[in-house]
C-alpha cells in the first residue's frame, strides 16, 4: 500500500455566519437579524505533509474552520479548497476530497447505542486507506473494547476512540479537533506518540487544535492562531517562538530598553520588572541589555499565545 499524497488546504476570504443571516425587508427598512460571525474574512494556506497546530481561545472559530475543510459545513462566502498540491478542489459534496479528509471532533462521531464495532465497521467500509490492524492495536493500547456501546464510554475513552479513528483512517488530511478532552495525561502522551510515529511512517497533513499549548507545541511544525474569527498568525512554530522575548531587570533600565515597543505583558516585583515584548532583539540591543544588567529571556509559546490573543484595552 502506498502512502497517498498529503493534502494541503487553502481558504480565501472565508466568512461564516451562524444564525439568521437573512435580511428581512419590511417596506423600505431592512432589518438585519442577529447573526454570529464565526469566521470573518479568513485567508489561509496550510502546507501539505506538515503537522500544524490550530490555536485560539474558545469561540475563536477553530471548530468552524476545521469543519469547512471536511465539508461538514459550507462558508457563507469565500472559497475553500482541499487536495494535493496543485489539485485543490472545493470539498463540498466532493467524494474524492471528503473520502480523503478525516475530521475527528471532540464529540467523536459514533452511533451511541450500538456496539463500537458497528461504528468502526462504518469507517472501515468508507475509508479507502483504513488500517484495521492499527485500529485494533490502538484500541488495545487505550483499553477499549469494541463490544462497548459508545454511549457508555467516559469522555476520555471517547476521545481515545476518536484518536484511533483519526489515525487508522490514514487520511491525507487528518484533523483532530480538541480530541484530547477528558484523556488523562498518560493517555494524552500515548496519543501524541502514536500520532508522531504514524505520521513518520505515513506522512500526511495533520491539523491539531488544542488548548494545552505547552503540551503540544513541540508536535507542530507550523501553527495557526485564530482570534475572534480572524487569522492572527500562520507560520512555522519557530517563527512564532521568535515573536517575543522578555526583559527582566531594574525598572528604569527595562523601561529604557523597551522604548516604544509593544508590551504584551508586564509584571512587577518590587523594583524588578519583567516585560514581554513583541519582536526580536538585535545584537546591539542584546549587548546594551547585558551591560545594563537586564536579563533577556524567551517567552513560552503558551504565554505568547495568551498575550497575543488578549483583548486589547481599546476593545474593552
Amino acid at each position: 500500500m502506498t502512502t497517498p499524497a498529503p493534502f494541503g488546504t487553502r481558504l480565501d476570504d472565508v466568512v461564516v455566519r451562524y444564525g439568521s443571516r437573512s435580511e428581512v425587508v419590511g417596506g423600505s427598512t431592512r432589518v438585519r437579524r442577529e447573526a454570529t460571525t464565526a469566521l470573518d474574512g479568513v485567508t489561509l494556506a496550510i502546507r501539505p505533509g506538515v503537522i500544524t497546530g490550530v490555536l485560539g481561545r474558545n469561540g475563536a472559530g477553530k471548530s468552524t474552520l476545521l469543519s469547512l475543510l471536511a465539508a461538514f459545513a459550507r462558508p457563507t462566502s469565500g472559497t475553500v479548497s482541499v487536495g494535493p498540491e496543485g489539485a485543490e478542489e472545493d470539498p463540498w459534496e466532493n467524494a474524492w476530497v471528503t473520502s480523503n479528509v478525516q475530521l475527528v471532533r471532540e464529540s467523536g462521531d459514533l452511533i451511541d447505542d450500538e456496539k463500537l464495532s458497528e461504528s468502526l465497521r462504518y469507517y472501515a467500509d468508507l475509508r479507502p486507506h483504513w488500517d484495521a490492524g492499527l485500529a485494533v492495536r490502538l484500541l488495545d493500547r487505550f483499553e477499549i473494547s469494541t463490544r462497548t456501546k459508545p454511549g457508555a464510554l467516559s469522555r476520555g475513552k471517547r476521545s481515545a476512540v476518536g484518536a484511533t479513528i483519526g489515525l487508522a483512517t490514514r487520511a491525507p488530511l487528518t484533523i483532530f479537533d480538541e480530541v484530547y478532552l477528558g484523556m488523562d495525561a498518560p493517555t494524552r502522551y500515548a496519543f501524541y506518540s502514536e500520532v508522531l510515529a504514524d505520521y513518520a511512517e505515513h506522512p500526511r497533513t495533520i491539523l491539531l487544535s488544542s488548548h494545552l499549548v505547552e503540551e503540544v507545541e513541540r508536535l507542530f511544525e507550523d501553527v495557526v492562531v485564530l482570534d475572534r474569527g480572524r487569522v492572527l498568525l500562520a507560520e512555522p512554530v519557530e517563527d512564532m517562538r521568535a515573536r517575543g522575548y522578555s526583559l527582566t531587570g531594574p525598572a528604569a533600565a527595562v523601561a529604557e530598553l523597551t522604548g516604544a515597543r509593544r508590551v504584551l505583558h508586564e509584571q512587577r516585583l518590587g523594583s524588578t520588572v519583567q516585560v514581554t515584548l513583541e519582536g526580536a532583539l538585535g545584537a546591539d540591543e542584546r549587548a546594551a541589555a547585558r551591560a545594563a544588567g537586564v536579563e533577556i529571556g524567551t517567552v513560552p509559546v503558551q504565554d505568547l499565545f495568551v498575550h497575543l490573543t488578549e483583548p486589547r484595552k481599546a476593545d474593552r
Binding site: 503537522i51 508522531l196 510515529a197 513518520a200 511512517e201 511544525e221
Partner: protein, 126 residues
C-alpha cells in the same frame, strides 16, 4: 527536556553533542532515528531531522544509506578541540572581564583557579 530558551532543534543538537563529548555516544555508534527520537521526546520529526542535519553538516554524525545515523569517527576529538578553542573566548574571557569590572585582582583569580583546579585534578586522577 528541551525547555531552554533556544529553538528546540538547537537544544537537540546540543544534547547529542554533549553525549558525544561525555562519551555516552561512542564513535561509530548508531544514534536514534528521527522517528524514534520524535516519538520518544514527543517532538515533530521535522524538528528532530533539522537537528540531525545540522550535526551531519558539522561532521558529528554521518548517514549510512538504509541503516541510519552514526557518530562520525573523530567526532569527539573535533568537538573537544572546538570547545577548547571557544572556552577562552566564550567562558573565560567574559569571566575575567567581569573580574576587572568588579576590581578583583588577577592574583586572587589565579589563586582561586589553582585552588579549585587542584581539587578537580586530584579527583580526575583517582
Amino acid at each position: 527536556m528541551f525547555d531552554g530558551p533556544e529553538p528546540i532543534y538547537v537544544q537537540i543538537a546540543q544534547m547529542i553533542r554533549a553525549q558525544v563529548l561525555a562519551g555516552e555516544l561512542a564513535e561509530e555508534e548508531q544514534v536514534m532515528s528521527t522517528t524514534q527520537f520524535a516519538t520518544t521526546f514527543r517532538i515533530n520529526p521535522a524538528t528532530a531531522a533539522k537537528a540531525f542535519a545540522g550535526l551531519v553538516d558539522e561532521g558529528v554524525l554521518h548517514k549510512r544509506r538504509g541503516l541510519g545515523m552514526f557518530v562520525s569517527p573523530g567526532a569527539r576529538e573535533r568537538l573537544l578541540a572546538e570547545h577548547r578553542r571557544r572556552y577562552f573566548d566564550e567562558v573565560l574571557g567574559p569571566a575575567l572581564a567581569q573580574a576587572d569590572l568588579l576590581g578583583i585582582p588577577t592574583g586572587d583569580v589565579v589563586a582561586y583557579m589553582l585552588g579549585t583546579r587542584r581539587s578537580t585534578d586530584t579527583k580526575e586522577r583517582s
